[in-house]
Symmetry: C4
């Protein structure tokens, strides 16, 4: 199996995840401004999750670009990543409906954490498939970016019971952190060409 | 990242948006003709939104055709456009259920307006990626079409409080305006070939 | 725009239509055999609609195969066809819930009729795009198959008020009629090669 | 019709099936730990079904790889397989909501059984399309793996009335059985190359 098909399937699943989340936004019963206000948390949760899926889609593409051999481990760690991301619409809807209450906020962070760990596992599987002198391994280095994100998610989950809004801020911070262009993989590709 | 993958992902998202809107159409409880009549606004909203997504899909394709380098700005302005379009099913359902009431009508117009602005931003990002002598910049000229649409959306949103049906008429007018073939991009492509 | 992208988008929309129909099948509240029985009409409606979308997908592919130039008319008649097919999940769900009552049965037939007419319009648009000596025109001949289907749908809609089960039988008959292999397009392709 | 398009359409349908299942997971009303516990069966059902669709996607790809001619029989047995798989979200949701009660558990097993039989029929259709000395026929041998799975599903359905948890264990066992790499097709491909 080439990476093309793995990528096409992942793209399809990510496109569906990013779009069905909107089904969690339910049109309010009345039609005055006052009915729109309670929708704000649901809307903000949607924005955050949309950004997260966009970021994953983008990074996932660069990641698979380094992969030239789809082993069983790569295939299943990829599905494992998609599994956790597929839970994001559920967590988003629940968090939005409950106006960022503690438990849904912690659950949302848990889904993000599991997705980040799954992404880490997928990276390892690709590195293993490349043998020694792995292009991806050099690009990632010690992967501080991935490790810091995981630490911040854990912090967010722990703080959600007392300060759910702090947890939200932490999730947002990680999103911004990843939104800023990451050129590690491109750099290694470039250095190899020269 | 080539435009192929950007296009494939956008196509996927647009195909899902255009299709899940139908889930907002709920089969009425009874089965006599009288239960079908209240469905008319929901149905008409669906027709309008279907046309809008069709138009965006078509124009988006022509737009990406002029793009030969996917910069970070292009990638994120594209996701930004998809974000606003993904809110159309929500706005459509809400407007249809409330029989074109003022607030849902204004909200619908707001989503259209933001999508139009996002489209404008995407155009700018592609133009910037092309440097001076941008093919797209020449094709668009002063982009009267885009500017007039935005003005009409604003007019629609403002009028929705007093004359929601006028707002609907304005949204429909913009759709027809864009439905008519737009050959600006094709012309520039053609002129370059000769 | 080449046919490849038109086909990919149509495939995406058809894949979503055929799959979201299952969302209309709601798990019954209890868990004894007696709660499954009322699901039968919903299940049978789903089977019929699944077969119809499968048939359209198959024929649509052959149809687009004859098309080598995507004109504006082809593009919009294709979206028009997708529009009516996108209403099938709604009609299916409504018909199933109401156990094949008259009005939902007639509505279902109406959606099938409009889809058949839209398919006819799409054929005409492709034929016009091919100019004289159209490959598709020769393949279709007088298109008895299309015309008979349309007549049977009309008959079904008319009979639905008195004999809804007869209407169901007629819809089923058309599906079987199209399910049987149709080799008109392949024959003309073949004759041209020799 | 080439296998490419059949594969793309199947991939689309499978990507949608695997993703819309999450819509069956409904955010609980409260936000304490006690409201999460009743979600466990729904979550576990989702995990199992996600794994099943992942396995089918993977095997389906290898299967179609052996197919070089899409006959009508191949096309329709493929749609038939997708039909049964498309019922998995319904069965998953119903089983999860009812906490693995007997009837939903048996229904879930029935859907798995029908999908397995449909897969068997698709294999036969591909073998028939390849004529004598079929690559796939040699790869499958007596297809003990497929036959054992079918037997275990039947056992699961029968046991569901008395021991629904045994049935769940049997379904899980088959998933693990298929999850382990299956190299039959690859072996034959390899032997042919040498």
């Amino acid at each position: 199996m080439g990476t093309t098909r793995l990528e096409a399937f992942s793209d399809g699943v990510l496109a569906i995840i990013i779009t069905i989340m909107v089904l969690e936004l339910k049109g309010p019963a009345g039609n005055t401004f006052s009915v729109l206000a309670p929708l704000a948390p649901a809307f903000l949760s949607y924005v955050l999750s949309f950004a997260y899926i966009g970021i994953y889609w983008n990074n996932h593409h660069h990641l698979l670009h380094t992969c030239n051999k789809v082993t069983g481990a790569v295939l299943w760690s990829n599905l494992h990543l998609l599994f956790w991301l597929s839970l994001l619409p559920f967590a988003t809807g629940w968090m939005g409906e409950n106006h960022f209450a503690s438990l849904p906020t912690a659950t949302y962070g848990f889904v993000l954490l599991m997705a980040a760990l799954a992404y880490h596992v997928l990276q390892k599987a690709i590195i293993r498939s490349q043998g020694s002198d792995s292009l991806l391994e050099r690009a990632l280095g010690r992967d501080w970016k991935g490790k810091i994100s995981i630490a911040v998610y854990v912090l967010g989950i722990l703080s959600a019971s007392w300060f759910p809004m702090l947890a939200q801020g932490l999730y947002l911070a990680v999103a911004i952190f990843w939104f800023l262009p990451d050129t590690r993989i491109e750099k290694v590709f470039h250095s190899r060409e020269t």
